[in-house]
């Protein structure tokens, strides 16, 4: 099953080749310039490196629902950051075809003094959309977020549920080519949660590739075709979801 192609193929969406991420952490945390200078003069700046990912090779095809399993600190988030362009790997090649849904916590980048409408525009431009694209989408965003006439009021008058709804509506207004699902979504009330799940499903159905990160073996087994198991930044195995789930269960519960 593991694909050893050295170049992205026609139907490739995500392609990683020999990707390593090394964090260089100072032995003691030097957070200020003053301290850094003093230590530099004393010759005391030492680093130890920490491999968050080691030589990862990955080849995900269009339309796949791909599971990522691993314990806390295994490198799952780092892998997602590399795919979503937030982190440039220390080594190796990352090749991604298409728009990746953001790893944004809902409402990051919102400003409380701005109105809901102004926040929609700010947030959508943060996600890389231009004025024209945003104008087209605004009715749909408003419709989905269910904010009503509050949309012209400053965000500080909103409830936390309203803010979360607005954030989700903006973040998912555009169909991504690669959908990253990290942990379980919990936004607002049950009715809105159902709407969210529906939107996720419609993304999948219209051909988005999904990277699913979960602790739940059952979710991965039921949704994914293939999966990857990470441990200490190393890929232990890539293969059919069932097999990987079994291996993961052994890893955490077994010997």
């Amino acid at each position: 099953m593991s694909n050893l192609t050295s170049e992205p193929q026609n139907d490739t969406v995500v392609f990683l080749s020999g990707v390593s991420v090394r964090y260089r952490l100072p032995n003691e945390r030097v957070a200020t310039l003053k301290e850094y200078m003093i230590r530099l003069i004393q010759g005391k700046v030492r680093f130890h490196s920490f491999m968050a990912l080691r030589d990862v090779n990955l080849h995900i095809r269009k339309g796949e629902i791909f599971g990522i399993l691993g314990r806390n600190g295994a490198g799952k988030s780092t892998l997602l950051k590399v795919v979503s362009r937030v982190l440039i790997p220390t080594q190796g090649r990352v090749w991604v075809n298409g728009m990746v849904s953001p790893l944004l916590e809902l409402g990051a980048g919102f400003h409380l003094e701005l109105t809901g409408m102004e926040n929609i525009q700010l947030n959508a431009t943060l996600l890389g959309h231009n004025r024209k694209e945003i104008k087209q989408k605004i009715p749909e965003i408003l419709d989905f977020a269910e904010i009503g006439e509050f949309i012209e009021a400053p965000l500080r008058t909103y409830s936390s549920g309203m803010i979360a709804r607005l954030g989700f509506s903006v973040a998912t207004a555009w169909q991504p080519d690669i959908l990253i699902l990290d942990e379980v979504l919990s936004v607002g009330d049950a009715a809105f949660n159902r709407k969210c799940s529906e939107r996720m499903r419609s993304f999948r159905e219209s051909g988005a590739t999904v990277l699913l990160v979960s602790h739940s073996v059952d979710t991965v087994r039921s949704l994914c075709q293939r999966a990857l198991l990470l441990e200490h930044g190393n890929v232990l195995e890539i293969g059919p979801a069932g097999k990987i789930c079994e291996k993961y269960s052994n890893l955490i519960f077994g010997n």
């Binding site: 964090y23 200020t32 991604v96 075809n97 298409g98 701005l114 525009q121 749909e140 555009w174 051909g207």
Partner: protein, 279 residues
């Protein structure tokens, strides 16, 4: 099958094809130009929306400082009647520089949490502070003209050269802002230290006193090595002195401003790769 509401744009990102970071960033910031506009709008709206005096404050601020300084210093420097116009011209240039560079530090601190989550051109926040600064400067020019008229300092045609001297100030402030932001991304305490540096810089630059006065205390080379002085001088010449700067003055100021911008842009973009590594 639900039909696709947006056609999937074919955007291929290939980390092995990243050629020149400085040029990539330039392309990226152009692509994200609407973001710059939104950030400037955010800064202006949040600044002016909730205070009644709003925009008026931006005009009153340099006016107030000018009044205080005029009372204290005008006799000391022997400029009497012309001192208010002189000091206000300098203050407007200085405020632009001080405000945009300080704002870029804060914008960087604010933005660093976003850099951990989504891809954005890293220069976006620093560039947007320039936009905000330009609007504020434009507003501050209104009371300046008012003071020129009251104190009967002639406004000459050289004022039409203002866009050019402003452009140099923009390039210089952006360059310094980028360098500072790079440092603050790694060491947040730089934001704490900068106001002190700024105060020192202000007194080493002929802002509140004429350059002849400063030259008496400071050896001439220290003055001529101060890049900010060289850039602000061109600004003052076209507004207050009503003189066309000599080609040497233009040349030096342009060299300093563009050089600073180039160094800042390259330094920032080279280091921006590792911003997300600093958690």
């Amino acid at each position: 099958m639900g039909n696709l509401s947006t056609p999937s744009r074919s955007i291929i990102y290939d980390s092995s094809k990243q050629r020149n970071l400085a040029i990539e960033e330039l392309r990226s910031i152009f692509h994200y130009r609407d973001l710059i506009f939104q950030l400037v709008r955010r800064d202006l709206v949040t600044r002016y929306k909730r205070s009644v005096l709003g925009i008026l404050w931006t005009m009153l601020n340099p006016l107030g400082t000018m009044l205080i300084l005029s009372v204290v210093f005008s006799r000391l420097f022997n400029m009497q009647g012309h001192y208010p116009a002189f000091i206000m011209t300098n203050l407007i240039a200085w405020n632009f520089f001080a405000q945009t560079t300080s704002a870029s530090l804060n914008a960087m601190l604010w933005g660093s949490s976003l850099f951990q989550k989504i891809y954005l051109p890293r220069t976006a926040f620093v560039v947007s502070t320039i936009g905000t600064g330009l609007v504020n400067t434009l507003l501050a020019l209104i009371p300046l003209i008012f003071i020129f008229l009251i104190t009967r300092v002639p406004i000459r045609a050289t004022i039409f050269l203002l866009p050019f001297s402003m452009l140099l100030l923009v390039a210089f402030a952006l360059g310094i802002g980028l360098i500072l932001s790079t440092f603050v991304a790694f060491f947040p305490d730089v934001a704490e230290m900068y106001p002190i540096l700024l105060t020192a810089w202000m007194y080493l630059t002929p802002i509140i006193y004429p350059e002849e006065t400063l030259a008496k205390v400071l050896s001439g080379w220290l003055l001529r090595l101060n890049p900010l002085y060289l850039v602000i001088k061109v600004f003052r010449l076209v507004i207050y002195d009503g003189k066309v700067p000599t080609s040497a003055e233009w040349g030096i100021a342009t060299g300093v401003a563009l050089g600073t911008l180039l160094i800042g842009w390259i330094f920032f973009t080279q280091k921006s790769k590792s911003f997300a590594y600093h958690v």
